[in-house]
Symmetry: C2
Subunit: 577 residues, 2 copies
C-alpha cells in the first residue's frame, strides 16, 4: 500500500471521553471514529486489524471442526420468549418493533436462533456432534458504554455452539474448543491466561475465561505459579489461613473505640494487627414471612465475594444488603460496631473459613464506639451456623491445590467457553433420536470470542508512550518503508520503491510512505500506528550504502547494507512473529 | 471437506412461500433457513457462496483504489435528520430507540455516516479523491419481503462512496467504479448488462444499473443489439414510431362502441388495428388553487411510463391518478370512453410522441359506449399542449441512437452506481479547502452491490430441473468426489480419498462424500447443491481402471483412466472458469 493512496489520519489529541490507553491510541492512530456512545466506525487501519483477528479465529475454529454459518442480527422475539430470556434479559437487550409492530431484538448472542436451527436440522444421533459458529455484529445496550471498543454497544463477536448426544460428548466438544482457544490466543501473539470462571446467569456447570493480561484489565486472575491452577477471582477458592483454630488465650474485653467504625481504625486504635479484626457484613433475604437477616463475618483485611456468598445455602435464591433500619432493629446498633455477641434479635451467622479458625479476635460490640477484644468461638459466641468460602483470594494465599501460594494479575476477558448442558435445548425442545430410536435432548456448549475487544486488549498489553506496539500477527501493516526526502531525491525514491515492491513480492504486508513528510512526522505516525518494523532510507545512508532497520520495540535503528535490507527484514519478521 | 464432517441437509420440498426458483433451490439445497419474514440464516453452504462474492467484490474494489472500512449497523437519528432522510424515508427505514429513548436507525445505506466521516477527516484538496467502501449488514423493512434473499429485509450490501474536488473528478471516480463493476460481474461468471438508469429519489445526475440477465427478473432492460445503447425501461427513450404525421384522410365519426371500454375491445369491434387507437390516461396535480387535470394520450398498445410522466413540466413536482369523481366532473363521462374532444371542462393535453404523429386515430367520445374514429390533430382537436416521451419502449421500437431496433430482456438489479453530486455533502456541510484555500463542497458518488441478492440472481440465471448450476467462481465447492460403495469397498475408499487429497493439495475446493449414501441420493444432493464438477468412483469402473468425470451441465459422464482423473479435473476447471 502506498500511504498517499490510503487514508492515514493520526490525531495529536485523544478524545476527552477516553479513559483507557487503547481507546486513546485507537482514536489517535485513526483506527476508530466514534459515531454514537459505544458505536464506532472501524476506519481502514482498524478494520485491517479486526480482519486479522477474524482470520485467525476462523482458521482455528474450522481446524477444530466447527462449521461457519451466519445468523441474522435482527431476531424475532418469539424465540427469546421461548427460552425465557425475553423476560430475564435486562435493558441491555435492545428490543425493536418492525413496521407491523412485531417484536424483534438486536442479537446480543444467538443461543435461541442456533437452537431453533438445531431442532429443525438435527434429527438423528448420527448427525452429532455438530459445532456451528458465526462471526457477526452484536449489540448490547450498555448503560454506560466506555473504554472504546472494549465495552461498546455494537461490536463483533465470534460465537460458536456445540451440540452433542450426551454429557461426555459435550465435555469432549468443550475440550476441543478450549484447545482451539489456546491456539487462537497463542497465534494472536498475546500474553493470556485461561482461568476457570463462574457460569453466572448463563447457567451450565463449567466455564473458562480467556484473559489477555493487562494492568488496566477489570478482571482479577488468580493463579498458582507452581501449578496450572488459574481462576477468575469470582471463582478462585480461598482456603482458611490457619489450618486449625488456636486455643483461646485472651479474656473477652469490651474496649472503647470511639469513632472507629472501620477495622483499619479499630486495629490502629487498639494497636493490634488488622488480621486480628473481624468485619461484620449484614445481608437480608426476603421470604413469605418477611426478611431474614444474615451476619457474614470476614477477617478485617478481606473482601466479600458476592458470587461466593450467593452460593451459600439460604442465600442462593438471591440476597441483598440489609437496610440501616433492619440493622438497627436486629443489632440494636448502627453499622460500624456490629458483631455476633448480644444482638437485639437472632441473626444467622456465617463465618468465612479464615474467621472460623481465628481465636482472640476483635469484633463490634453492638454498641456505638465499642468493640470486643479476645473474642473466641464457642466460649463468647456460639459456633457459626455455617462456615463458607466468602472472600476474595489475595496474593500470597495458600493455593487450593496445596502447592505454594497464589498470585494475582489483571486481565481483560476476550473469550469465554461455557458448558451449557440442556438449558436452551430443553426450553426450545431441541431433541434428536438416539441409537435406540428414542428422543433425547441435545447437550450444548457455547463459546464466545470478542473480536473487536481483542483489538483493544492487545493495545492495553502492547503500547508505549509513543503509541501502539503490534504483535506481528495483528499489525495492520507488517513493515513500513520510510523514505527521507521522497520529494527531493530520485535515489531515495527508487531505493524505497524497489524495497517496497520486493517486500510485496515476498507476500509482506508493506506500506510505502510516499507522502513526502518530514521524518519526525512520518516516524511519529508509524510509531503511533504501531507497525512492527520500519526501514528508513535516506540520501545520507545511501551514500554509505546503508539503510536503517528498526523494530518498533528497539531503542535505536540498526544500519544494514542496502542490498541486504530485504533479507534483514524477512529475518526480523520471523523472529518477531 | 469431508461431507460427513460438514452440514449437508437437502430438502425434497420447497417452502410454501417460495415464489421464485432461487428461493426454492436455496432452501432445498440447505443454503438458507428462514428465521422471520425476509430474514434468513445463511447456512454453511450458503455462506460459502456469499464469501466468494464478497472476496471478488473486495478485490476489485481495492484494485480500483477504494479503501475498506466498516460503518455501524446502528446509526444515530441526528445524522439522518441532518440529511432530511429521517423525514423523507418511509417505513422501510427501521427506526429504533435505545434504553435512553434516543432515536437510531438500522442502516439501509450509509450516505449520512460516510459524509459525517468525510467532513471530519477530509480537510484539504490534497486528500482527494477518496473512495471508501464497506461490506455490511443492511436492513430495509420491506412491506412485503419475498423472493428469498432477493428481496429480504436483512441483507448484505457492499456500498462505496467517492469524494472528489469537482464534478470532473467525481465523473472520473464514477467511471472507475463503472469499470470495476464490469470486472466484478465478469469475474462472477454471470451474464449481465450495464444499463443507464433513472436516478430516482437518490438524486444526482447520472446512474447505471448492473443487471443479471434472467427471465424471472423484475426489471426490463432495453438494449440495441447493434450498438452499446442499453437502459432500464424506466429510462429508455421511446421515439415516435412515425417520423412525421401523415395527412388526414378519414372524416371524424362518432361510432357506437357498446361495452368496449378498452382499446383492444374497441379495435376488435371496429375491425381496426390496435395501433389506430389512442388511450386516455387522466392524471391530477394538486396546487393551491385545487386540482389540475391532465389528459395523457398514448397509442392503444403502449403503456404509460410513470417515471417519464413525472419528468413532464407541470407533473414533475408529483402527480396522482385522477379520481373517478374528478374524471366525471372534467370529461362528463366515466372512464373507458374518454378523449380530448368536447370535454366538460378544460384539461391539459399531453401527447406521447407516437400519438402526436398519428392521423385518423380512434379515441373516446366522452360519452358512454361511444368513440370517435378518424380523429386528427388540428382539425378535430387542438394540437396537444405538449408532446413528450410518455411510454415504455417495446421490442422492435427504433433505437434512439438511430441504428436498428431495440430488444428487451429481463434482469435482476444487483449493482447500482450513482453520481450524487452535492446532495449529501451540502446537507451535512462536508467541505474542504481547495487549492486557493477556499472552502468547497465535496462532490460525491455512491456505488452499491447487493451481495446476497447476487447469490439469488446467479441461481435464477443458472439452474435446471435438478437444481443449481453454479459458475465455477461462485460454487460452494468446485469438485465433489462421489465414491459408490464407500462403506463396502476398500479400493473405492482409497481411490476416492487419494483423489480428494490430491485435489486439496492443488488448492481445489473439493468435497469428498464419505456419507456412504446410495448413488441416487448422493448424486441428487450434489446436483441440487450445484457443484460444477463431479468425479464418480466405483468398483466396477476401478476394475476397468476408469473413473467418471461429469460437469454439472453435461448430459452424461465421461470415462477417464483413473490415473488421469486429477489432470482431467484440473483441465475441466480451467475451461469451466
Amino acid at each position: 500500500m502506498r500511504a498517499s493512496k490510503y487514508h492515514i489520519n493520526t490525531l495529536k489529541e485523544a478524545p476527552s471521553d477516553a479513559e483507557v490507553v487503547s481507546h486513546k491510541l485507537m482514536t489517535r492512530a485513526g483506527m476508530i471514529r466514534k459515531l454514537a456512545g459505544g458505536i464506532y466506525t472501524y476506519m481502514p487501519l482498524g478494520l485491517r486489524v479486526i480482519r486479522k483477528v477474524e482470520a485467525i479465529v476462523r482458521e482455528e475454529m474450522q481446524a477444530a471442526g466447527a462449521i461457519e454459518l451466519l445468523m441474522p442480527v435482527v431476531q424475532p422475539a418469539e424465540l427469546w420468549m421461548e427460552s425465557g430470556r425475553w423476560e430475564q434479559y435486562g435493558p441491555e437487550l435492545l428490543r425493536i418493533k418492525d413496521r407491523h409492530q412485531r417484536d424483534f431484538v438486536l442479537q446480543p448472542t444467538s443461543e435461541e436462533v442456533i437452537t431453533d436451527i438445531a431442532r429443525a436440522e438435527i434429527h438423528s444421533w448420527r448427525q452429532l456432534p455438530l459445532n456451528f459458529f458465526h462471526i457477526q455484529t452484536k449489540f448490547r445496550d450498555e448503560r454506560r458504554p466506555r473504554f472504546g471498543v472494549m465495552r461498546g454497544r455494537e461490536f463483533t463477536m465470534k460465537d460458536a455452539y456445540s451440540f452433542d448426544r450426551d454429557e461426555a460428548g459435550a465435555q469432549a466438544s468443550y475440550d476441543i474448543m478450549y484447545q482451539a482457544y489456546m491456539r487462537i490466543f497463542q497465534r494472536l501473539g498475546l500474553e493470556f491466561r485461561a482461568v476457570a470462571a463462574d457460569t453466572g446467569s448463563i447457567g451450565g456447570s463449567r466455564s473458562h475465561e480467556f484473559q489477555v493480561i493487562a494492568d488496566t484489565g477489570e478482571d482479577l486472575l488468580v493463579y498458582n505459579p507452581e501449578s496450572d491452577y488459574a481462576a477468575n477471582i469470582e471463582l478462585a477458592e480461598a482456603v482458611a489461613l490457619a489450618s486449625e483454630r488456636p486455643p483461646a488465650r485472651d479474656a473477652l474485653e469490651r474496649a472503647p473505640t470511639p469513632g472507629a467504625a472501620k477495622c483499619e481504625d479499630v486495629a490502629a486504635l487498639l494497636k493490634l494487627p488488622l488480621t486480628r479484626t473481624v468485619k461484620s457484613i449484614v445481608l437480608a433475604t426476603d421470604g413469605d414471612e418477611g426478611a431474614q437477616i444474615w451476619l457474614l463475618m470476614l477477617r478485617g483485611d478481606h473482601e466479600l465475594n458476592e458470587i461466593k456468598a450467593g452460593k451459600v445455602p439460604g442465600l442462593d435464591q438471591g440476597f441483598r444488603f440489609a437496610t440501616e433500619a433492619e440493622i438497627i432493629e436486629h443489632f440494636g446498633c448502627e453499622p460500624g460496631y456490629l458483631g455476633p455477641i448480644g444482638t437485639a434479635r437472632p441473626v444467622r451467622v456465617i463465618a468465612d473459613r479464615t474467621v472460623a479458625n481465628m481465636s482472640d479476635f476483635v469484633c463490634g460490640a453492638n454498641a456505638r464506639d465499642f468493640h470486643y477484644t479476645g473474642v473466641n468461638w464457642g466460649r463468647d459466641v456460639p459456633e457459626p451456623e455455617r462456615v463458607a468460602d466468602l472472600r476474595n483470594v489475595v496474593a500470597g494465599d495458600p493455593a487450593p491445590d496445596g502447592k505454594g501460594t497464589l498470585a494475582i494479575q489483571r486481565g481483560i476477558e476476550v473469550g469465554h467457553v461455557f458448558f451449557l448442558g440442556t438449558k436452551y435445548s430443553k426450553a426450545l425442545n431441541a431433541t434428536f433420536l438416539d441409537e435406540n430410536g428414542k428422543p433425547a435432548v441435545m447437550q450444548m456448549g457455547c463459546y464466545g470470542i470478542g473480536i473487536t475487544r481483542i483489538v483493544g486488549a492487545a493495545i492495553e498489553q502492547n503500547h508505549d508512550e509513543r503509541g501502539i506496539v503490534w504483535p506481528m500477527a495483528l499489525a495492520p501493516f507488517q513493515v513500513v518503508v520510510c523514505p527521507v526526502g521522497w520529494g527531493k531525491s530520485e535515489a531515495v525514491r527508487s531505493a524505497a520503491t524497489e524495497l517496497y515492491e520486493a517486500l510485496l513480492a515476498q507476500g509482506v504486508e508493506a506500506v510505502l510512505d510516499d507522502r513526502d513528510l518530514r521524518p519526525g512526522s512520518m516516524f511519529a505516525d508509524w510509531e503511533l500506528v504501531g507497525v512492527p518494523l520500519r526501514v528508513t532510507i535516506g540520501d545520507r545512508g545511501l551514500k554509505d550504502g546503508v539503510v536503517e532497520v528498526q523494530a518498533r520495540r528497539d531503542a535505536e535503528a540498526a544500519k544494514v547494507p542496502a542490498g541486504e535490507a530485504l533479507g534483514e527484514v524477512l529475518a526480523r519478521m520471523r523472529t518477531l512473529a
